[in-house]
């Protein structure tokens, strides 16, 4: 579906016409990312991070495929094969540092993309399915990134794998068998490393598949926008190409400047020194921490320090950690405010900027800190707010809040003049 005023695909050449009659792939691209996709004219820069995440996924897939040509997924030689890439493969260091830092930039893009959705209510009808698929992409990305971090087989790889798969152990009855199935043994070893490598190679393509569905679902209602007001006429939109291809294009360049500055001048700043020590099952690192993009969830996991009746604290932490993400699946039905954009929701805006954002920042900070006081207490308060925000505040807020008046149309919001309805 598209808006009736969308530009129509006209093959420019005879060959294009011939193709279009048989396999209209040019038409598909034209209608998805080209001039055939009318897009709200008022998107701000928060709408740039979806395409940016896509760019970094491509960076990850391309560098990853090259790394896989030189990497050896064997517990005895994995660490040395990574160093072989760093030292002896032509420009191997560049490929590896691009891949290691690319993961972080993918998550930066995806977090800002999710944050955009949370603030502007992009998850609301009729875009629930886009949001749900997005959460699936995020979960797949977390699994992929976690398994990727295990592959260099350093100390943090090994102990991270042990701790994360150990979480499943907390599940009653089936926990232990699940953990052994994940690891292919009782502790991380060659079997675990091999299956992680296999899945780490597979999942990005699954992600790419879900992204296709994510974009497909997006093109049914079309993009949301900062006012949250529906597109009402041709004046409200501009063709995706060249308008948003140009905007996305230069912004990708800007992001790549930050990315390359990171990968060439401080490539290990986001890593952990312990991962340059080969995995050693007999020596536990002083502080086992995952990569930064997992810190908020790790803080929630460690915030539970007391058993509840017969439920041990560890299981509570695991349940809470998974619930913290799973709650996003229910978000479109928890927040029933008919107004999408946070710009027009005075109370929601306060809870978002002074509640949710600081809360996630604190969780992120505490997740990377050692499990000591006062960090545990800070994560307890922040986790309590996190659950309260999504499960209590948002559902109640949509009942009591009086939203500010919405503009009549996107065009009016941008130009101050009413939208001229085409006759």
């Amino acid at each position: 579906m598209s808006f009736p005023w969308a530009q129509q695909y006209k093959p420019a050449t005879e060959f294009g016409q011939w193709m279009d009659d048989r396999l209209p792939i040019g038409r598909l691209v034209y209608n998805s990312l080209g001039a055939g996709y009318p897009t709200p004219r008022n998107l701000n820069y928060m709408w740039n991070f979806g395409s940016l995440a896509g760019v970094f996924l491509v960076v990850q897939i391309v560098t990853g495929i090259i790394l896989a040509m030189h990497y050896a997924a064997n517990a005895d030689i994995a660490f040395d094969s990574v160093e072989h890439i760093m030292r002896d493969v032509n420009s191997g260091w560049m490929i590896r540092y691009a891949h290691a830092n690319g993961a972080s930039f993918f998550f930066i893009a995806i977090y800002l993309h999710i944050g955009r959705g949370l603030y502007y209510g992009s998850y609301k009808a009729p875009r629930e399915m886009i949001w749900l698929l997005g959460v699936v992409i995020y979960l797949l990305a977390m699994a992929t990134a976690f398994m990727g971090y295990v592959l260099p087989w350093g100390q943090m790889s090994f102990w991270g794998a042990k701790v994360i798969t150990g979480l499943f152990e907390a599940i009653p009855l089936v926990g232990k068998p699940i953990q052994e199935l994940l690891l292919g043994g009782f502790a991380p070893d060659n079997a675990a490393l091999n299956r992680f490598f296999s899945l780490h190679y597979l999942l990005p393509f699954v992600i790419a598949g879900v992204i296709i569905m994510h974009i497909w679902a997006l093109h049914i209602p079309g993009s949301s926008n900062p006012t949250g007001v529906n597109v009402k006429g041709k004046q409200d939109t501009v063709p995706f190409h060249p308008f948003y291809t140009a905007k996305d294009g230069w912004f990708v360049g800007l992001a790549l400047i930050f990315f390359t500055a990171m990968m060439f001048f401080m490539p290990n700043a986001l890593g952990h020194a312990d991962n340059y020590i080969p995995a050693n099952p007999l020596s536990t690192p002083a502080h086992i921490v995952p990569e930064w993009y997992f810190w908020p969830w790790y803080a929630i996991l460690r915030a539970f320090t007391f058993d509840f009746l017969f439920v041990p604290a560890k299981l509570l932490g695991v349940l809470a950690m998974f619930s913290a993400i799973l709650v996003w699946f229910f978000l479109p039905w928890l927040d029933r405010s008919p107004v999408r954009s946070g710009d027009y929701r005075p109370r929601f805006k306060k809870f978002f900027w002074f509640g949710l954002i600081p809360c996630i920042a604190i969780l992120g900070y505490c997740g990377g800190a050692p499990a000591e006081e006062p960090f545990v207490m800070m994560s307890q308060l922040a986790s309590a707010y996190y659950f309260a925000h999504f499960l209590i505040i948002l559902p109640l807020l949509s009942r009591i809040e009086k939203p500010e008046p919405l503009p009549n149309s996107i065009t009016e919001a941008v130009t101050g003049k009413p939208l001229q309805q085409a006759s």
Binding site: A273, L381, S383, L391
Partner: protein, 284 residues
């Protein structure tokens, strides 16, 4: 329904967390955590700079050669650099012949197979060999060192929090334990006090014991600090041989991206000019 159950679950989690916070806070106030003794005496790495620091940093080959000399004469007896090959030394400015000589005269031989009998044997290393490990295996390394296995140094400046300044501080930071250090934290048998080491007591005996422990051929004064700094610089190189190349490539990439991004930005501006003009009218 979703909201009803949502609120119940939210109340449960938030309640549990607030309760845990309360219990933790009471415990924290009634029983404030005492900082471990290690924290009180532990010191952060000294402030030391290397020529390879910063976005324009370059290796000083003279210093790396001096550092290699310290490594060879002081460290190599116990610590390997198994990821580095003799041929890599050419990057420090040694000629091919010098590298051949360094390899051939290396005190530890490379593992080999006796061509006559097929049995395991050793031979003098050649430039293509990685530096041979000083001990055949971890058991031998532990047995010779009071059960403390000397770590391989190839990646040490990347594998320790604090990097090269930490290595420098550790090497030059041995001292007598302070008088107020509790008995339990004093170095036991075979341990040595070092405030830069995480638990204060390190198994490695002070490797650099005094000035002029090595004799530099370039005439540099071999103070303890100088030797520690030179070998740390050498270990920055072993950990990241392509460090300088990375920075140089980085500048080229940044210059390209900057131009490309400016061009892309200008084309974005020109494409949007008409649409933006409408918006400007509103503001006017």
């Amino acid at each position: 329904m979703v909201r009803f159950f949502g609120i119940l679950i939210g109340l449960f989690f938030a309640g549990m967390l607030v309760y845990s916070f309360g219990r933790g806070a009471v415990e924290y106030i009634s029983n404030p955590p005492v900082k471990a003794v290690e924290y009180q005496f532990h010191e952060e790495p000294k402030d030391v700079s290397f020529t390879s620091d910063g976005p324009f940093g370059k290796f000083d080959n003279q210093q790396l050669q001096r550092g290699f000399q310290v490594y060879k004469e002081v460290c190599a007896a116990c610590h390997g650099i198994r990821l580095v090959a003799f041929r890599n030394l050419e990057e420090l400015g040694y000629t091919e012949d010098e590298v051949k000589a360094i390899a051939a005269n290396w005190p530890i031989e490379a593992p080999a197979i006796d061509p006559a009998t097929g049995e395991a044997s050793t031979r003098p290393p050649i430039p293509a060999d990685k530096f041979p490990k000083p001990f055949a295996n971890d058991v031998a390394a532990g047995a010779a060192n009071n059960n403390a296995i000397p770590p391989d140094l190839s990646l040490i400046t990347k594998a320790r929090e604090g990097g090269a300044p930490y290595v420098y501080s550790l090497l030059s930071g041995y001292s007598d334990p302070p008088a107020e250090l509790p008995e339990a934290n004093r170095p036991g048998i075979g341990l040595h006090y070092n405030a830069y080491f995480a638990n204060l007591n390190i198994a490695m005996a002070p490797p650099i014991t005094g000035d002029d422990q090595v004799t530099y051929s370039d005439g540099t004064n071999a103070t303890v600090s100088q030797m520690a700094q030179d070998v740390s610089a050498f270990l920055i190189w072993t950990a990241e041989p392509s460090l300088v190349k990375q920075k140089q490539t980085g500048w080229a990439v940044l210059a390209f991206l900057l131009i490309a991004t400016i061009l892309a930005f200008l084309s974005y501006k020109s494409i949007w000019a008409d649409v933006k003009a409408e918006k400007k009218k509103k503001e006017a």
